[in-house]
Symmetry: C2
């Protein structure tokens, strides 16, 4: 598929979808169409850019990263995490993906009338624990309350500021043909932890979310002078969305080996029951890294020294092909296209 075809395959939301659908928030084609045709068109920015990464700005000669995310996950408590820790990890990870050391967070709460204060207290405590164990400080915030039936217990929006200590330009456009594609661990656990609770699936032991802060791992790679061309946390739309976004921005093809992509058996089983593709399921503590071949073994060694990236693997390769296609080689050698997901599969996972 050429770039022009890719653009065409992103439906024009206003013409084809006059109202916002759940899929517009799902991390796939519809969301990318909405971001491109409504937000980027109005606010400016490169349609081929990466609107979900932190933006890099300069203050007093120092480069900083700035990012925000809203969190609307349901249920707000799930195995391995909750809305509060997720809101902290999500923004920390966006900053980390720009190579920044996360420093300060804001936290803004939209509370539905009737929320027990005890529940709010647990979420706020979880945020504070997640922040302090990642060495970031929540420094400012806001509270709004909406009437019963006009919200859904609690939404949290966090924004964050990080400091760039390295001069590397970590960006999709820094990706080069021949770069290896690494992932920091097994995929799909966060999405399936949430969906299993929501759908009432029971397994021998609960699937726990992978929600975790990733800055420490990234900063260690940079401190070791690993050339890091691009980083992307694997959230909505899963690995499939990440690879398609990077391929599109870099204008290069990517191929991955199915046998190398780590997915746990319980996650595979849950995906099968729900008819989902694990490669489209969100994580909240995993990232993909695009790194030149010569640095791969050292990078994997460093990543594996952190619990959050203990399952790091090399899963694929950036091709010299200027067609931004993502393909996957199955274990029997067949090759198929990994197309950008539509985003309908997993609403309110983060």
């Amino acid at each position: 598929m050429s770039t022009a075809e890719f653009a065409l395959s992103c439906p024009l939301p206003i013409e084809r979808y006059p109202q916002v659908l759940l899929a517009h928030g799902g991390g796939g084609k519809l969301m990318h169409g909405l971001i491109r045709d409504v937000f980027l068109k109005t606010f400016g920015g490169q349609p081929s850019g990466s609107p979900h990464d932190a933006t890099v700005l300069e203050v007093g000669g120092q480069r900083i990263a700035f990012s925000t995310d809203s969190f609307v996950v349901r249920p707000i408590f799930f195995p391995g995490g909750d809305l509060g820790s997720l809101a902290v990890h999500g923004t920390i990870n966006d900053l980390a993906m720009a190579g920044a050391r996360p420093m300060w967070l804001s936290a803004s709460f939209i509370i539905e009338e009737g929320l027990p204060l005890e529940v709010l207290g647990r979420i706020v405590t979880s945020m504070e624990q997640a922040a302090s164990s990642a060495n970031v400080t929540i420094v400012t915030g806001d509270t709004k309350v909406v009437e019963k039936g006009k919200g859904d217990s609690l939404f949290i929006t966090s924004a964050g500021i990080g400091i760039l200590e390295s001069n590397q330009r970590i960006h999709p456009q820094s990706v080069r043909a021949g770069d290896a594609v690494l992932v920091s661990g097994d995929l799909g656990r966060h999405g399936m932890a949430v969906m299993s609770v929501r759908e009432g699936l029971e397994f021998e032991s609960a699937i726990e979310s992978d929600s975790a802060p990733l800055a420490e791992v990234v900063l260690a790679l940079l401190a070791a002078k690993i050339e890091v061309h691009c980083l992307r946390d694997i959230t909505r739309g899963g690995l499939t969305a990440v690879l398609n976004e990077i391929a599109e921005a870099a204008q290069l093809g990517i191929v991955v080996d199915e046998a190398q992509i780590p997915v746990r058996d319980d996650v595979k089983a849950a995906c099968e029951i729900l008819g989902l593709d694990p490669l489209q399921v969100a994580c909240e503590g995993r990232f993909a890294a695009f790194i030149p071949e010569k640095h791969v073994s050292r990078a994997l060694e460093i990543m594996k020294s952190f619990p959050a990236a203990g399952g790091a693997r090399r899963i694929g390769l950036v091709l010299a092909d200027p067609d931004p296609l993502v393909s996957i080689r199955s274990s029997i050698g067949a090759r198929r296209i990994l197309d950008m997901p539509t985003g309908e599969q997993l609403p309110r996972i983060c």
Copy 2:
């Protein structure tokens, strides 16, 4: 009332109100209790501090301000503004109140399924216009979609970064006995613009919101070397909440002259119909300034040179009294206490 009595008069939310009420978002006692007992207790910070101001941080030797606000106003379009421009002005003004030049904003959208994209487009366009006319740039964002009935068309959370160009410490604790209290214009228009639409009140001409960016005025005061002890935008809880917050933080009494407080006749009339006190009604383009007497006439001259502060007035005085009481002198000379409002009057005004 002593400080201890003031603290007692802020209900302990968890014990007395086990569930979140609309009033917890109203800018009054309940909200302050929630912030103090849940957020500040967990995240740290001074209970006597000012949780709604921007936080001042240091990056590369440069002081920056960082702030966030969620906006849930209903209806999303009202005379004189809309949710989009409000989200931009609100965060700009929080930064300005720290004396910062607002530079960059984030915008995070929580969209209820079914929102017409045309409406979203109008709000986003309004944000962009408000940002560009205030010389700030929206640099990062996020989009989440929730199911129909789990949101209310659109909530926007903005965060912002500003740069402090002046060395003045603009803070409630810099307020001194003898400081004059100025307001930048007539009060209560934003709240009554929104309430009039919501309650179907009809006047000869619609009351228009005062929603406006205030940074230009503040930066002009600072550039002219006016000693600015404290600034506070007059939002939820109105002038009454602002004065009580500052009195409490500064541990000083404040007295204001009713006859000097500018409130338009149509706003007074609308307040009377709805049983509201105009001094408790939110503005979104007005601020209070605490300035030493010797700089008042020059400060008023500068403020009046800007359309956003054309109606600036001196309305009162900070007393040497260490009891943090706010009182108001009526035109016939009677003096009464302006107590912190409970916050129940005006839900979802911003």
